[in-house]
Symmetry: D4
Subunit: 256 residues, 8 copies
């Protein structure tokens, strides 16, 4: 019985007078979040509402904590993922969690069906400015695919060789939402937003040195974009960009 | 003859061999942008592609320049607008440009049909945290309405009195995309994104003092939001938030 | 003979002419601080006045220095603690200092009675936004308990899932002072201060990445809180928050 | 009938079956906040819970808006105040709002009974480092007095002439909570916290020039205080410091 | 007698034993700089070596000081200019200095021959991203022309409408050095440097708002440009860019 | 009877049993500081110990407050000065305070004997990099002269024309302490410290624009000077530099 | 037909005399970029246009990726280089890439002819302020030499011992363009630009500590230089400085 | 004839009475610097003029480079020192350089006579706020002693326990110049400057965490000190503070 069905059946029981409202409230809270040990409260609400995978942000958690949270999550959701996982941590996790897969460039560990068919219409185009931006771009791409979206990748098309971008305009034209990942000066999203005709999500990366100041430079560039219609996420936040892109396509789906 | 029709007819003439391709190319460039005096190149491309109003960013331009650009733009587009216009500048513009309307809270001047029917499905919900954030929130709202979108406003629902927001959850639920405007600590978008199930665009404002550092504080808050699915625009950039929200609804419309 | 009694008896001797004022002054200075090697002056004054444990800030001190200072302190105070102690340093300290206990999540080493009964009325509620904030939250909790205060913990109630907080409003209502620990966007203290009716101490943490800038983002968020009645301490300073909370409950106690 | 009584009577009516719960909910929401024009939602909840005055933050609001909000507030609360009010704005307000008083140094306008007797035990000591810090210190002092607390002022006791502070140690000793206001290097709270034995609230001010960077320097000083037990509020935020100090004394009162 | 001739004749006199070396040294120092009142030392050396105009940076000097310095300078150099001159200051200067011309967009006052023929081979191409960047771009253009260089202007070709730039590639191709002026996100120099095959000088401007932070955003963008061969000057420093471009063409000239 | 004599005579009276110690303590406190109205405590201690003028920092004080403090100060000290005084404020002060003189470039108002003979051996050399730095350099020079020191000025010797500095090496050699004032890049103190053989005090100024960030650039330059033996004061703080230079010469005097 | 095959067939046709070289060149320019694996697009355009070496920025790429890109590049260009290569990475690369040379101070790996004769007129003078700046200065020098330019080095001539610079003025006079590398306070470029009569490229380094803030201090110094004619590149960017210097000499060459 | 040979021959001539010492001194000053390998120019000028030790800043130099520079220096100066030397580097140096001593807390390696008698009148008082500030304070103390000055240390007298400072006022009174070292909030120099009557040199340290931002907090505190007469040096720059203090005492000595 899926989580949604369980919820529906609880509410029916209340309506039929079979379950007392106070009791139902207690149960509902349990739907809302579930304690794991004494260090976490797994929040099923959001995944329930959105259909996105349950996700754990890896840094600052021990492999034991991550594994324990994953086990609680997998009971309720077919896809569970953890981000910012180094290879060494992945090795430990794979000993503890059955069926875990690792995406090394994206640094993501996931439990998921072998193939995930796109569940929503539309395509998310993902562009990266340089080779060194790939880990962030792949974090976005893998997250989007695990969430049930169709992805088209276009790597290494930074503005210093603008013809590489212009030769691939068909990618811009066929995408319904674009994620643009760039470090150093971070100028790619402005150029893309001037060419494209769909929402653009800009992801600054910490790639660079000196006056990059850990990604501050491309972050400011993107926030000051003179091309309107660009939304910016945190430095290196490929995951957040994918979720925002997914929300945009889900909105389209719901409006149909 | 509308801009689209003119373009179509040019291309037909080329196809029919009536116009030489080199000549057509020259004409097409003219479609792309049009010089105004020696200080600006009006870019009709984007408005042509997107249907959004032609827009002038007011600061750093003289009233004469703004008026001259507006006259060039109005020949090609039913809606023309200028942002960041002080009342005194508006007074000067209204002497020069016939049919100009002024939205004082939003600080927008616009030429437009008397009524603009929503041209796209869906609703943009716009929330502001405090009364002092209204100019930015209204810039977003007026821009969205002039661009042909349906808007629902919800003002003064900051997190320090969370019940004001919780009592208005129906606004969050009925919107297809949300713009959340907040200064000071800028916490509202995180809370909203945790409650809502649609894309959230966060707009930091320069409202505040001291450690707000001109809007840096809410900007960082929003970029660090622990609720995924939030895209951030520049400080006080209500206009950009509206264009991004509009792009999202247009994407939905095109996917249908 | 307790430190307070020793002080009283010295002053009586001066009043009775049994001790020369110059001699007394020398002795008093000894009460005030005591040299340890040539690198520290242990200040007993504050602990004498407040009853809080003697505390050593660990970083930048060798295990030998920490152990030497602890030995001087334990002669005068039943509770002695050291903060920011890594497990490896703790292992070295436990070889040198008899009866030392280690709290690994809080990174605190302490000499103390086996059980510490609360010595003051009231309860300090401690909330953390995420699992990764636990080390700072536990530093606050353990410090408060070692100082003789009653503590109630509430972990993992960040604003992105506001129902987790709202379902635990009884914690907010039963506490007399609240410590709220949060990294990333740091919005939790504002929401808590809007719901609670007691002093709120906000502790930003360095948890996060990118535009968190080592905790600057939640620090600014908390300083700009639109909910009045929030006092902020340094990034990751769980210890300082506990001492401030303790001072507040002691004030209440003294006013009775 | 006071607000608290009205609330009590509504709940009694529900309990007695005289008022339908849905109707009561609607009424309760009205207690919670009340729209003023279309630009504000006055939040009576907090003032109801805490007994503090209803307060308007002046900047970014027109005199008309301030006056309208004050009129709504005064129906429910004997004390209403507005902060950051320039003399010219005060003049306009006094024409619109009957019985309004102006405190020029504190830049506060208030409606209040002629004399406000302290309603809580204890004393708030307020110290300022320099003459130029007086507006912030007075904002704290007037807010505290209007909120029903006893205040003791000690002006111009900065650390560059430490004997001025040491000669007034009795103020530190007789206060139950201290507010310490300082600009420039902002060192006063650290020294005070080392001498005092009660909670200390530090308020950085924007007084200074050059490397003060608008108050950043004293803000950082205070956050880094090596004296534990110091809570910091935003730059120039005398109001917030007074509310926090008041919450501390109310906690003492409630614990009795 | 020109400055160079005067210098030559002095050295000849020394060689011929007609002038004592000590005396010559004193005279040489006078060539090097000349006191004006007690507030300035006019440095003729640099202009002597480079042939560039003598230039006064206007801010922080009174009109009287500027006029006095100009009078000393004009005795030795056919072109004298002052930058950052507001119209009101220009009016005052024109009353005091005969033959002064004002370039209002560039905010430059200059004494110069009526026509200045280019004295060096090559062309300086100057591009601006937006209309609001014109004052800085014109400061560069007028400075270059007064210094004897050929200039080609290309205004309003920002990256959000990349076709405006691509349609004008002939300007990039015909220039020997390029000055690229841009505010907001400052991405134009990176794109230009990727297309052009000559040195590129990037000038960030303070045009923008919010996270532009007074020009910090485009400054960082330009410093982080992934296109090598870009030199950056200070925010709004059109003058410095023109001098650097001039030095580059003079180098070419001297190498011939 | 001078202040020092008065103090001596009080202590003698205590020693002779003519004055009760409690009474003496009260009197001593009066020596230490004297209240002016309820807004200031004039601190005579420092001026008593050092012989420097009594000084008022003007900003944030009303002309009435400044005049009142000056009147209290002049009773005890032959020289009284106020800094950062605009001409308009000076005009108001001169109506209220008899015998007040104004130094317009230095923005200092002072009460002093008509001629102040140097009271200490040695010379303070003061250098400024540019004409726009003169107000800060003159603040230092006038302060030093009013404090009884010999001053040698050397204006407009910035590093871009290093021969102007090298031609004046005798000034560096004859000074016993050097104050070096520079804005923009602030490189002058490093060069001077490499040439000179005495203590160097560096004063950054807010002269400049763009990436000067209000004087941050020269401040950092001076702090990072690779020439050891440079002490830095706050941006624009000519006054503080003069006091430090004076302390250095007084130290020399006392060591003799 | 793959892009590589198409290229091969084109070159064969040229070799066979079937295609005219001018025509081939045009076609070649259209072979804008070549994919390497799925992680990079090698851009031959720029190197083709400018004659500079093909260059790989090392950080964030695996040795395998670097080696693969080098192999693709060497087919088209006699000189291929990689920057920011640690000795350990260099060891791995030398096993994979035949004929690779390592410049340890410059941290550059290169494939190149054994001797590279200068291909352009003129000399690039390169100055460093201190010994610790050598890696950046050598990165500039080696890049320039591999690109076919004549280089003159002048190390350890910082401003704190200005005579070291003045004794080497002949280097400044004989160079046609100067690269000036400096960390700490970064004052050297200003002094050099005041003495020299050619374009100056300033390179800040991250050498220093404390208020150097990772090179921010010398970066700001150089941007604020009061000597016009200075272009600044990113912190530690010796490579970019060399390319800009080379572009300047190539401009001279083309203008002849 | 190499520079070294020329020097040798000059010294021989002096020894033989063939050259008058005054003449030799003049000539020696012209031997401004001596190359060491191709990576450094040892500058004997400054040490010759001032009598301070020759000093090498360790970071960024290999042990081989440090040893080579030391050998060149020791020929001319009885005291040679290197700063910021880790124990491991010290071990390597001691194998290469005969008679090298290591001061581990100060991280200084030095060649010097066994005992260094104070060569100047007066005492440098050095204060540190906390135990963790000792490495910086000892760097100052050892540098001063190696330079021939008398030093008095006073450790662990931070402002949070002001009585520790007040009980040691005799140190402040007997010193002729004070160096005050403090991290965290950095308030100690302001308090000391208010009590003392001699020049005060403030040294911020990077001790602290969170909002200390690597020493920025105490740096700003010290620059904003409301006590005039404080000169600030770079973060952690104990060496520079000692040299400045030494220059002050030398000035006194020369004025006698």
């Amino acid at each position: 019985m899926s989580q949604t069905e369980a919820l529906q059946s609880l509410l029916n029981a209340v309506a039929a007078g079979e379950v007392n409202p106070e009791v139902a409230l207690e149960k509902l809270k349990h739907f809302a979040f579930e304690p794991v040990g004494d260090f976490a409260k797994v929040d099923h609400h959001r995944s329930l509402r959105t259909g996105f995978p349950e996700t754990i942000w890896g840094p600052g958690k021990t492999p034991e904590q991550i594994a324990a949270i994953m086990e609680v999550m997998r009971d309720r959701n077919p896809v569970v993922m953890a981000t910012r996982i180094d290879p060494a941590v992945s090795d430990q996790l794979q000993e503890k969690v059955i069926g875990l897969r690792y995406y090394p460039t994206a640094r993501i560990c996931a439990i998921s069906p072998i193939t995930i068919e796109p569940q929503y219409p539309g395509t998310i185009g993902i562009l990266s400015a340089g080779t060194a931006d790939l880990p962030v771009a792949e974090e976005a791409a893998v997250t989007a695919e695990l969430s049930g979206f169709r992805v088209q990748r276009l790597w290494d098309v930074g503005v210093a060789g603008i013809h590489r971008l212009l030769s691939n305009r068909h990618v811009l034209e066929s995408a319904n939402v674009l994620i643009v990942v760039a470090g150093m000066e971070g100028a790619l999203p402005s150029v893309v937003a001037g060419l494209a005709d769909c929402p653009v999500i800009a992801v600054p990366t910490s790639v660079g040195y000196g006056a990059s100041f850990g990604g501050l430079a491309p972050l400011l560039t993107m926030l000051n974009s003179c091309a309107a219609g660009v939304g910016v996420v945190n430095i290196d936040n490929g995951f957040g960009a994918a979720i925002l892109a997914g929300q945009i396509l889900r909105t389209a789906y719901k409006l149909q």
